[in-house]
Symmetry: C2
């Protein structure tokens, strides 16, 4: 089995947490991992295979410029390993735009697709349902025809990732009625409402979704442009961080709070893990000719390991072929 | 002192909770209230003054059409009371678009302003800071010059509402750098970055804000179009509802959980109240020539009372004159 290529230099806690995550993935899930990065900095940290690279794209570097100029950057090399059939997937926690650009420029785009999208999975906290939202940041502006392509890919992804047999698709807007939203959304609604693509892809368009549906169980896929999706996703992450901090005060400020916190330790930890964006397995770049998973910059080893596992799983599902079929159908 | 006009027929729990909220506002805060609605349905519910109206605009009626056709609708009559100097503010929990259209058509727009905006206040859960976000739904599409007007109004509102002496203003985007965002946001960034309006209004533009800043304390005002703002606000509300439901399970599923819940009763109630969107005092329509507060459709009596109090407070601050000055400066 081909290894998963991991950008060992990307992320707030690179390379330490990245390498520890890779070791954890190998030990816990039996997934072979190739680290890509500076051999001197990675020396002695693990027994994993290392593919050397001499450059690192920083978090605040311009994605397009840096990927074109830094041909020996770790994330560029990781993308090349996938392109060249030496790795089955790549995982990166570094500069999101540059990771995406590396994958797009080195692997290329699925035929017929206008632009790739980043898909994130948002947990419904009460059931075990996840809602796939895309795009969450690859494209600030999306014409209606691109939103339709996102719906096609999102449905295929929800099927492989979460086993939805007939994914329920929504279009993010500001009201349930088809008349709500800006001109792009109204036009996209008309396209999404056609039976043709729904039958071809095996999906069902339920109409407009609203912000409150993101953390819910009514939709399997919610489609939006990368501007709105990014703001909404980061908004939810910020909200969950705020709640976690606030609960921390409840369980530390008073003696009664500390006692209750101790009694509920496991249950609270489960809740914190559920709403901690570092632990939800990363987002996936849909539409390039290879598996590319994007982990949070703040990922710890556990988050990296779960992202590696998900990358391997999506490669096993031959997700690229599924997405290609969903676009072509 | 003039009364606050309350649309007694609007909201999921109208007229019962609305009337109880009005009574509560009068008893708790000493604010005179005039109820507007069907005299037969309101008979015997309170000793408050009633201004009769024979029509009710439903939650799913088209705002523009219904306000033009239903001239005796309760929210239209409430707006007329403000226009005619018979009430110092109006409060409605009904159809948001129709409440807004009633205020706009009956009171008119502040001179020089292109379009009014709806401003919501989002709590930072750990400190007592609130961030004003606008627009949260009045205008799906906003050109850069309108976003600048929102920044001017938002700053004036944050000063009157929360006492910010020099409001820190951010532009909602998908990255901190000025180069991030769609074309409208990039152009708006350039406008907002000019010193002229900041000095005139007494505000400070800090640059782009991101989704995670909405529930934070770094900005006093975050400016965005009504599409993004609506999705982000409803996203946060949905997230807070999900967390509340999930916490409910922690404190009810096991004996240890129930015991801890009982021990922490007051603190948990305070947290729930803090993240319950029904209780945060409603949103304000900025830019019409009168005070118009929009409460959540699901508002209970407590939420209505706090919205009435806020409406009276904003009228006391002569907020319309402040907004007019902020636009003209």
């Amino acid at each position: 089995m081909l290894p998963v290529a991991v950008d060992a230099m990307g992320g707030d806690h690179a390379p330490g947490e990245i390498v520890r995550g890779a070791i954890l993935a190998e030990e816990s899930y039996g997934i072979a991992v190739t680290l890509v990065g500076d051999p001197e900095r990675l020396a002695g940290m693990s027994n994993l295979e290392i593919v050397p690279s001499s450059q690192v794209i920083a978090m605040d570097d311009d994605p397009g410029v840096s990927v074109r100029r830094m041909k020996d950057a770790s994330m560029v090399r990781a993308a090349e390993l996938v392109r060249d059939g030496k790795a089955r997937a790549m995982v990166g926690a570094g500069n999101t735009g540059a990771t995406m650009a590396s994958a797009l420029l080195r692997m290329g785009r699925i035929k017929g697709l206008k632009r790739p999208a980043i898909a994130a999975a948002i947990p419904d906290l009460v059931t075990d349902h996840f809602t796939v939202m895309l795009d969450v940041g690859a494209n600030a502006e999306c014409p209606p025809s691109l939103l339709l392509q996102f719906a096609r890919m999102g449905a295929a992804f929800a099927r492989e990732r979460f086993g939805c047999t007939r994914p329920r698709v929504g279009l993010l807007s500001i009201g349930e009625e088809a008349s709500k939203g800006d001109s792009v959304v109204k036009e996209a609604h008309e396209l999404l409402d056609q039976r043709g693509w729904q039958d071809a892809v095996g999906a069902e368009f339920l109409g407009n979704a609203e912000g409150r549906d993101l953390m819910g169980a009514q939709f399997d896929v919610i489609v939006t442009d990368g501007f709105t999706g990014n703001v909404a996703l980061k908004g939810l992450e910020g909200g969950m961080s705020a709640v976690t901090a606030r609960l921390g005060k409840v369980f530390s400020d008073t003696a009664a709070g500390r006692k209750a916190g101790a009694a509920l330790g496991d249950q609270l930890q489960a809740l914190y893990d559920q709403i901690n964006p570092d632990l939800t397995g990363g987002a996936m770049l849909l539409g390039v000719r290879g598996v590319c998973m994007i982990a949070h910059g703040s990922s710890n080893a556990v988050a990296i390991a779960s992202t590696i596992r998900l990358a391997a799983e999506m490669a096993d599902h031959d997700i690229v072929a599924r997405l290609r079929a969903a676009i072509a159908d």
